[in-house]
């Protein structure tokens, strides 16, 4: 009984008193905003880089000399440097560099965070999508081109939808990782969910409640997201009965 009362007291002190739950609620909003925008940026960069890289891998050897060939070579080189740097350095370091160096003039932390996490995620998405594109039979590509679709249209209507379906589980995993990775946003003093819990801990000097609450919220979000992806996957698979 005494134990239960202590728990109740802890709960009150950590979440109810002074409306401390608001740290978690506000933090959750920031985390969701950050993740959502980073996912969008990540997909945009990822699909673009994946298209450049797979176009290069598939077609460069057979391309006729000319302007397009040179542009493709340069774009491919840029993409490769981007992938190497992003995948070869820790996300926290990238976040700090983005905040203190590249976007030092901006004091919009949310924007800095979105871009830093988006650029980071883009590199991983690019490799996932590229593997998806390369897994599509070349006959699909030829069928599209033979109907008169140009390269980009063939990608858009025929290749990418199939590639996306194939890599959906891997892609979903990447976004779950991203959701959790945004927890380092506190490094640039953003008040995300993790930071919110940590602030409560700093005020109440009790670690158990706020930190486990934070962990639980992440877990619930991940479970919910996994559920949505499973549903989507099942719907997409309908065409393969």
């Amino acid at each position: 009984m005494e134990w239960f009362q202590k728990l109740q007291h802890d709960f009150y002190r950590n979440f109810i008193e002074d409306d401390r739950w608001k740290y978690l609620a506000d933090g959750l909003v920031v985390t969701l905003q950050l993740t959502f925008c980073a996912v969008i940026i990540g997909i945009l960069i990822g699909v673009l880089v994946a298209m450049i890289r797979s176009t290069y891998d598939k077609n460069f050897a057979e391309m006729r000399p000319g302007f397009g060939r040179v542009v493709l070579k340069i774009l491919n080189a840029i993409s490769k440097v981007y992938l190497t740097i992003i995948r070869g350095t820790p996300v926290v370091v990238q976040l700090l560099i983005m905040y203190y160096v590249i976007m030092a003039s901006s004091n919009n932390k949310l924007l800095v965070g979105m871009i830093a996490f988006g650029v980071n995620s883009g590199a991983y998405v690019a490799e996932i999508v590229r593997s998806g594109i390369m897994s599509i039979d070349n006959g699909q590509f030829e069928a599209g081109r033979s109907l008169g679709f140009n390269y980009v249209q063939t990608m858009r209507y025929i290749i990418i939808p199939q590639a996306f379906k194939n890599v959906l589980p891997t892609l979903a995993n990447e976004f779950i990782v991203l959701l959790k990775e945004t927890s380092v946003a506190g490094y640039i003093a953003m008040q995300d969910l993790t930071k919110g819990g940590d602030i409560i801990r700093g005020v109440t000097f009790s670690a158990f409640m706020p930190l486990f609450a934070v962990a639980l919220i992440y877990l619930i979000m991940v479970l919910f997201f996994t559920f949505l992806v499973n549903k989507l996957e099942r719907r997409l698979r309908n065409s393969e009965r």
């Binding site: 030829e142 069928a143 081109r145 008169g148 140009n150 199939q162």
Partner: protein, 248 residues
């Protein structure tokens, strides 16, 4: 355009791999007139598929010229996409889009490329589906069809763009024997409607019966060309004679 002019003219077509070490096509010259059914035969590795794939530039030739309706499509400045819309192609492995229904497979190109409305394209597609007896499968997905059905769909998908010439790349080679007939039947119908066709095939019966002209290829060269009667009953070259002895 009158019927005597060539729809496709091929001049000195060459396709070399590995800097000329492999000559898949070694100087092909031919003309394909409107309404003709040209059947290309030859042993495997003779370059017949490469020849066909060069005609719509799926394979980029390393030398020579291809004129389609008077335009040099091998010219780097030619927008090949426009011309491909007028050339249908059917593949050995069907290459239907597995993520779309049969109907969507057929209407996507006319809608996106020719600006047809969905209703217009659907009407056209349903008409074609009825002709090949598959109108009840319009909302099925490709994986739900048999090989023969898939290939018939692939043919009408190409026809949906209302092309002026149809290219067939071994359309029956990947089919179970009992399904070959239904696909050949559709192709025969098409030939009777005066569609210009170039067909790479191992079906000698089809070549003899439907072809207006037969081209025999070996080692990247056209060895003999003539009417089915000339090719099958009076073969001149030794290469063709040995080939026919093996396949007939």
């Amino acid at each position: 355009m009158n019927d005597n002019t060539a729809l496709i003219r091929v001049e000195n077509l060459e396709k070399h791999f590995k800097q000329g070490a492999i000559k898949a096509l070694d100087g092909i010259n031919t003309e394909i007139k409107k309404g003709e059914v040209v059947v290309v035969i030859g042993p495997s590795g003779s370059g017949k598929s490469t020849f066909l794939r060069c005609l719509n530039l799926l394979e980029v030739p390393t030398g020579g010229h291809i004129y389609f309706d008077g335009v040099d499509i091998t010219d780097i400045k030619t927008n090949i996409n426009i011309h491909r819309q007028r050339m249908g192609m059917v593949f050995q492995h069907f290459n239907l889009f597995p993520h779309m229904t049969i109907l969507k497979n057929m209407i996507i190109a006319p809608m996106k490329l020719q600006g047809k409305s969905e209703a217009e394209a659907t009407e056209l597609a349903m008409g074609l589906l009825k002709r090949v007896g598959l109108d009840d499968r319009a909302n099925a997905y490709p994986s739900q069809l048999s090989g023969g059905q898939k290939q018939r769909i692939a043919i009408v998908r190409a026809l949906c763009m209302q092309p002026e010439v149809m290219l067939f790349d071994e359309p029956t080679s990947a089919l179970d024997p009992e399904m070959v007939g239904e696909v050949l039947e559709v192709m025969k119908q098409l030939a009777q409607e005066n569609m210009t066709m170039v067909v790479v095939t191992h079906e000698m019966g089809f070549a003899r019966e439907v072809g207006t002209r037969v081209m025999f290829m070996a080692d990247g060269k056209q060895i003999e060309e003539g009417t089915p009667d000339e090719i099958f009953n009076h073969p001149k070259s030794e290469r063709l004679q040995t080939f026919l002895a093996k396949v007939l």
